[in-house]
């Protein structure tokens, strides 16, 4: 079985995705999770890892939550 990807690596990949889609597409936490499943495969990347990665992004201020009808993960205004 392949080695599970680290929370930090998933957080970095998620951040990259948020950055690339900024201003074009709003991403919900589940959109990020599904993207990570596609990128790494479910055997290497669990829901718990994705949840921890999103928390990491929010807690260190690299990303913030926004509300536009629903809740999304986006970049802070200064970015």
């Amino acid at each position: 079985m392949s080695e599970e990807v680290s929370v930090q690596e998933v957080a970095d990949a998620m951040y990259q995705l948020v950055k690339e889609t900024y201003g074009k597409k709003n991403l919900k936490p589940m959109d990020l999770t599904k993207a990570m499943f596609s990128q790494y495969g479910r055997d290497r990347c669990s829901k718990q890892t994705c949840k921890a990665a999103i928390r990491e992004l929010i807690d260190n201020g690299r990303c913030i939550y926004s509300y536009i009808g629903g809740s999304y993960v986006t970049l802070p205004p200064e970015s």
């Binding site: 919900k28 936490p29 589940m30 599904k34 949840k51 999103i54 928390r55 929010i58 807690d59 201020g61 913030i64 939550y65 926004s66 509300y67 536009i68 009808g69 629903g70 809740s71 986006t74 802070p76 205004p77």
Partner: protein, 400 residues
């Protein structure tokens, strides 16, 4: 606008009459925010359009819920309420407070916000109306020092709420307040960090009277019920009959939705196998009738108010579940629902709408629940579930 004398003739009309007036309350604040707030309202009445917009990027560090960004679209005219955010504060189960803590909450809010509150919002939270963006973090800090936390908003789990159950009511079939507290603690992550396609609400009602209207408002309605027989005090029934204030035949028996009761002028009989536990007879004769002793709750899923699609009422998922800590069966069901809806729900699709889209049969199949006769829209009518023969059954039928 705050500098000038504000004329609000349309709003002022709402001070007239003997009833309480929110305009009087807002005016009594006598601060610039209150004046501009009434100014925006006057403009809305005059223009016949709301001048508020909501959402955006505001919040406190680490949380994705609890703050609803509110901005008016006339910031140059009404600068004091250019940003006038709402804070949802997680209420205690059953809304019990000491007067001391209410004073302290109000002190925090007078220091950092407009001083306007809304007790309580429709989700149940304490609502603080009118915070500037800069004051969000200081307010949150003071609230946490008092032992309070923010509630849910956006696509978070919303603050669980309940009737005050066993604390105040003899009909509570389970401890609604204990379950509310337990779920609030268990699902802190979902409450503060939005994980879902859209909002999700738990509401706990101790009996079918459903004083928190959970069947119409909650994505998961947990409504107290019982399995055994309604308890009858025959002497008290006789007292009702002799007093003459209540016509047992007309007001109780004939209003039973399943006609499971009979009254011959002497004895009240109930066929409990046909009783749907609607509470009507118990409400009508509270001294004579009471819920049975084998108590728990019915778990229903899927109601919502008509914000995007139409209104929905909750449907029965589990007819009876004992409601005792640590509530493992309930949490297992919740996890299964969230897993399926979380992954396959569309953006802004409530779980009730999701069930409608994929069909209850498919939904039950996916979460691993067997269909039961109680999963119907109305008693003894309109089944959702259509039993299908599998290939083997069909083959056997053909052979016959």
């Amino acid at each position: 606008m705050s500098e000038k004398e504000l004329k609000t003739p349309l709003v002022d009309e709402l001070e007239e009459g003997p009833w309480p007036s929110f305009v009087k309350e807002i005016k009594s604040l006598d601060n610039p925010k209150a004046k501009d707030l009434l100014g925006v309202l006057e403009r809305s009445y005059r223009d016949k359009v709301g001048h508020w917009k909501h959402g955006g990027l505001v919040g406190v560090m680490g949380y994705g819920g609890g703050v609803i960004g509110r901005y008016n679209d006339l910031p140059d005219e009404f600068p004091e309420v250019a940003a006038f955010h709402t804070l949802r504060v997680n209420h205690p189960a059953g809304w019990f407070y000491t007067s001391d803590v209410l004073r302290k909450l109000c002190d925090v809010w007078e220091e950092h916000g407009s001083g306007l509150t809304n007790m309580h919002g429709s989700t149940g939270d304490i609502i603080f109306l009118g915070c500037s963006t800069e004051e969000l973090e200081p307010t949150f800090k003071k609230l946490t020092e008092l032992g309070f936390d923010l509630g849910g908003s956006g696509s978070c789990l919303r603050t669980p709420s309940c009737c005050n159950g066993m604390a105040r009511c003899e009909w509570a079939c389970y401890d609604t307040m204990a379950l509310t507290y337990d779920l609030t603690m268990e699902y802190q992550d979902e409450l503060h960090r939005p994980p879902f396609p859209y909002k999700f609400k738990f509401k706990m009602a101790g009996c079918a009277n459903d004083c928190v209207a959970s069947i119409a408002r909650a994505d998961m309605s947990i409504i107290g019920t019982w399995k055994d027989e309604i308890r009858i005090d025959a002497d008290a029934v006789k007292e009702y009959a002799e007093a003459g204030d209540l016509d047992i035949l007309v007001d109780v028996v004939s209003r039973c939705p399943t006609k499971c009761m009979s009254w011959d002028g002497q004895e009240l009989l109930i066929d409990d196998a046909d009783c749907v536990k609607c509470m009507h007879c118990i409400n009508a004769m509270p001294k004579a009738l009471a819920p049975g002793k084998d108590r728990g709750a019915t778990i229903l899923v899927g109601s919502k108010a008509p914000i995007i699609g139409g209104a929905l009422l909750s449907s029965v998922m589990v007819p009876f579940l004992k409601m005792e800590p640590p509530y493992e069966d309930l949490k297992e069901l919740v996890d299964a629902l969230w897993e399926l809806w979380g992954e396959h729900g569309k953006n802004r699709e409530r779980i009730g709408e999701f069930i409608q889209r994929i069909g209850l049969g498919n939904f039950l199949d996916q979460i691993g629940l067997d269909p039961t006769p109680e999963m119907i829209a109305q008693p003894r009518a309109n089944p959702y579930i259509f039993y299908e023969l599998d290939d083997e059954d069909e083959y056997e039928d053909d052979e016959d």
